[in-house]
Symmetry: C2
Subunit: 180 residues, 2 copies
Amino acid sequence: MAKEQTSELDLIGETRRNWGERGIREPEAMAAATSLARAQQVVLGRINQALGEYSLTFSRYEALALLSFARNESMGMARMGERLQVHPTSVTSTIDRLERDGLVIRSPHPDDRRATLATLTDNGREVLTAATAALEDIRWGMGEIADGDLSNLTVNLAHVRASAGDNTDDSLPIFTKGTS
Amino acid sequence: MAKEQTSELDLIGETRRNWGERGIREPEAMAAATSLARAQQVVLGRINQALGEYSLTFSRYEALALLSFARNESMGMARMGERLQVHPTSVTSTIDRLERDGLVIRSPHPDDRRATLATLTDNGREVLTAATAALEDIRWGMGEIADGDLSNLTVNLAHVRASAGDNTDDSLPIFTKGTS
DNA sequence: GAGAATTAGTAGGATGTCCGACTATTTGGT
DNA sequence: ACCAAATAGTCGGACATCCTACTAATTCTC
């Protein structure tokens, strides 16, 4: 979950100097990449801490949210993997745990006997609602950052995502309306 | 390593609409958080793919880089955990693999018999140099994004990190000069 | 139509990360 | 000095993620 507190008052500018001595080629890219990794660690840590109250992780939360928007709150696992941008085996793992906790149930696909549908349960829907409220309470781990700054951040991150072929009209890759 | 290609042409604006119907409270924060998660996934994926060539992961790379700046290219594991912002057990795990691959060696701390020093080996130094070059070649996973945009991104991310107590003068939390 | 190619889901294995617990040492307080 | 408290490192467990491989089923092609 990363350490929230560590006020590493050490100077980071010092670092650039260190690398400078070795002649770094892409300082801006390195700075952005390392900042991105650290920021994500901080935010994800806060989010997971908030979700822990509901025995959820961000991964499982995303899966629940995805199902909540699907027709009949149900979706094939392969499609879930595409939407969530994770490997099929990760979906299996995530659904295993959600099913274990009674938040979703697996059922055979009526038209395709190799497919399995994951469906939200009543309990799953309730937990999702409560968890969403909890995330909003902590502003999705974004601290006290003003909405304006958050918008700028989202735009900048869109550049990165765009370079990977992501749709970046907005920024909710996970909750995109599915065709399921 | 995440899917680079998936041109999810589905509209994300659609999403905001979906959430809007439910009355979302912190749309900007949610957008920023989800964008951050996805962007990090993309960038880390590229970085790890590039590092795979050297049997490294970003975690191990960071550890090697940290040691390379330390006095005598050596540092106590506890301090490494503080610098890298990871749990002590993660350091143990990382050093285990680096030592297994002959990139670092463990040795007892001369003045503190409970401490263990991790020291870069000649091979470790060479691999680090090559890996760094590889990362620069791919611009640390930042694609074709212009330096100016990267600067903006770094600044925006600094806001997030600052809210967690991180020093954000610059953006290289990992390579901060140590006191080791 | 029958076999080839593709797709869906899962099992097993490797990594990374965290947490709690445990041992060994060092520090600190009385 | 001596015992309590803090610190260093590791182990085992829980998760998340990827990859490879494998089975079952569907789709495509000739």
